[in-house]
């Protein structure tokens, strides 16, 4: 067993990512993710202390436009894509309290 990532770690990460895994999936994902992280371990050989991180390839500045109203999205078109809608709003099952 590779120590880079444990089965419990994968189960925890799946919960964070809102995914449900079967026992078999947990096993295969754990070994595959461990392989990938093991490959990424070659970065450990680098001396990176003095290096600044790069988040983005462009030297980005904030972009602002004139505050003038333009064309707006069509509400009907956006609502039409949703699985469930009520009173012009997206509808979901209960988010709080006891669902029973």
């Amino acid at each position: 067993m590779n120590e880079r990532i444990s089965r419990d770690d994968v189960a925890h990460v799946a919960r964070l990512a809102c995914l449900s895994l079967t026992d078999d999936e947990l096993d295969s994902f754990t070994s595959q993710l461990a392989d990938i992280l093991e490959h990424a371990a070659d970065l450990d050989a680098l001396e990176l202390e003095e290096i600044e991180p790069t988040a983005h390839p462009l030297p980005l500045a904030n972009v602002l436009r004139d505050d003038e109203p333009g064309a707006v999205a069509d509400r009907e078109a956006f609502l039409a894509s949703a699985p469930q809608v009520e009173n012009n709003q997206f509808k979901v099952p209960p988010a709080l309290g006891d669902p029973s």
Binding site: C18, L37, A55
Partner: protein, 478 residues
């Protein structure tokens, strides 16, 4: 007929957009069942568009630089009212309420969109086998993959379904399939082409670009889709590219460095026949007057590891939006959170789940510095190394992919082996630089090899000079 010849033939009355379209639809009808390049062939829409263009041309108006050219578009680019699936079940049935900027530009230029092409789900993969709708096959040998993730677009051009296609490239997803299918594929400078309406995978790496049969056709398409777009905050404020002079300028006096690490040096797994083609390409450029020598870009060795932390990290965040609330199918459950888990679990394929979890892990407390923070620093090293190389060289050169097209099923059980397909292409995405793949020679299996020309940010012009010379030399050989 090359793409470039179609507009003038229509303007001169030698043919019509309708006729050109029908010719291509016939080719699609003959081979699409076998190839599966498309998630959707837009026959009716395409016929209407062709008629509109013919009507304009009949009135003596110019419908634009792409007049009547059929084009295939990767199915992760939003088309208003037309299903856009990203080859994922989680977007099944979704019809975008707006067009991507490049779709508007293509229409304004007179192009005829013939269909939406298959891809690895959410553009995650190097073989187009990770599609929820089944794999695409390589038109040159249907037992082989077309590469990926833009495999449907590459296959569409290689099969003659359309002379032009649109792809997206996050780690090599245009260049690698172009190499495996024997067509030209270009990843422009990050920010050169608007990403508005491109479904996001890894936002700091994604870039839209062209596929074409020829370098000149790729240039024509890139000219149309490039240029500033106020709807994309990362769009570079520059006018569209003009590449016309690049195609005939040659490479006399250009200094070109062959990246040692990717050409039989530090990185293993580049096959001998591919390296042989690279040597021939070096000869061709040298005979054309370029000064070519081997050079080291040391941190390219670490590109793959950095990429497979950074891209999944960004993806895990971008793909949080697929939760069954605002679009796509929903799996019902008693509570919102149970509904979200059920919807995402049913909707995403294995590779997407793998990357979401990898990214979530790399960003999670306790591991952020070890993986994500470190990878971002490696990104700086790669940008520094390229900057040093471009002080000495106008262009860099390497193979595009380590091998020719591999058999279907060959790497599906071993994600890491699949990731290694991107070893030569990834560093350009991390740096935001342009790179293109041009077919050059073939492997021992008779399948095409692609040579990658890399340039510094914003220098597509010089890159196309070398691309055109390689193409001319390759055609001279056969």
């Amino acid at each position: 007929m090359n793409a470039r010849e179609i507009p003038s033939a229509i303007r001169n009355g030698e043919t019509t957009a309708k006729e050109v379209l029908e010719t291509h639809l016939k080719v699609i009808q003959n081979r699409e069942e076998e190839i599966h390049a498309f998630n959707l062939v837009m026959e009716e829409e395409a016929r209407n568009e062709a008629e509109r263009i013919d009507a304009l041309a009949a009135k003596g108006e110019d419908p634009g630089p792409l007049t009547g050219i059929p084009i295939a578009v990767k199915d992760n680019v939003c088309t208003q009212g037309v299903p856009t699936t990203c080859s994922s079940k989680i977007l099944d049935g979704w019809r975008p309420p707006y067009d991507a900027t490049i779709i508007e530009r293509l229409r304004d230029a007179g192009a005829v969109i013939v269909g939406k092409t298959n891809l690895d789900e959410f553009a995650m993969g190097a073989s187009t086998e990770n599609s929820a709708f089944g794999p695409t096959r390589n038109p040159l040998d249907t037992t082989r993959v077309p590469g990926g993730s833009s495999g449907g677009s590459a296959a569409a051009v290689a099969a003659g379904f359309a002379p032009l296609a649109i792809g997206s490239d996050t780690g090599g997803s245009i260049r690698q399939p172009a190499a495996l299918c024997g067509v030209v594929g270009v990843k422009p400078t990050y920010g050169r082409v608007s990403r508005y309406g491109l479904v996001a995978f890894a936002s700091s790496l994604d870039q839209i670009g062209p596929f074409a049969e020829t370098v000149a056709d790729a240039a024509l398409l890139l000219e149309v889709i490039s240029g500033h777009d106020p709807l994309d905050t990362t769009s570079i404020p520059e006018p569209p590219l003009d590449l016309s002079t690049a195609l005939t300028q040659g490479v006399e006096g250009l200094r070109i460095g062959v990246i040692d690490e990717l050409s039989g040096g530090a990185i293993e797994g580049i096959s001998d026949d591919v390296l042989g083609c690279l040597e021939d390409a070096v000869q061709a450029l040298t005979s054309a007057g370029a000064i070519v020598e081997r050079t080291s870009v040391p941190s390219t060795v670490y590109g793959l590891s950095a990429y497979y932390v950074i891209a999944p990290a960004e993806a895990s965040s971008n793909l949080a939006r697929y939760d069954g609330v605002r679009f796509g199918p929903r799996v019902d459950a008693k509570t919102t959170s149970e509904m979200m888990v059920a919807t995402r679990t049913a909707g995403f394929g294995d590779e997407v789940k793998r990357r979401i979890m990898l990214g979530t892990y790399a960003l999670s407390a306790g591991y952020y510095d070890a993986y994500y923070g470190k990878s971002q620093k490696v990104r700086t090293l790669i940008m520094n190394d390229f900057a040093n190389a471009y002080k000495k060289y106008d262009l860099l050169l390497s193979p595009t992919a380590p091998t020719t097209a591999f058999p279907l099923g060959d790497k599906t059980e071993d994600p890491l082996q699949m990731y290694l397909q991107d070893i030569c292409t990834i560093s350009s995405n991390l740096a935001g630089h342009p790179a293109m793949s041009v077919p050059f020679g073939e492997g021992t299996d008779g399948l095409p090899v692609g040579i990658q020309v890399l340039a510094s940010a914003m220098d597509e012009h010089t890159m196309f000079r070398a691309g055109a010379v390689l193409e001319a030399s390759n055609q001279g050989k056969s």
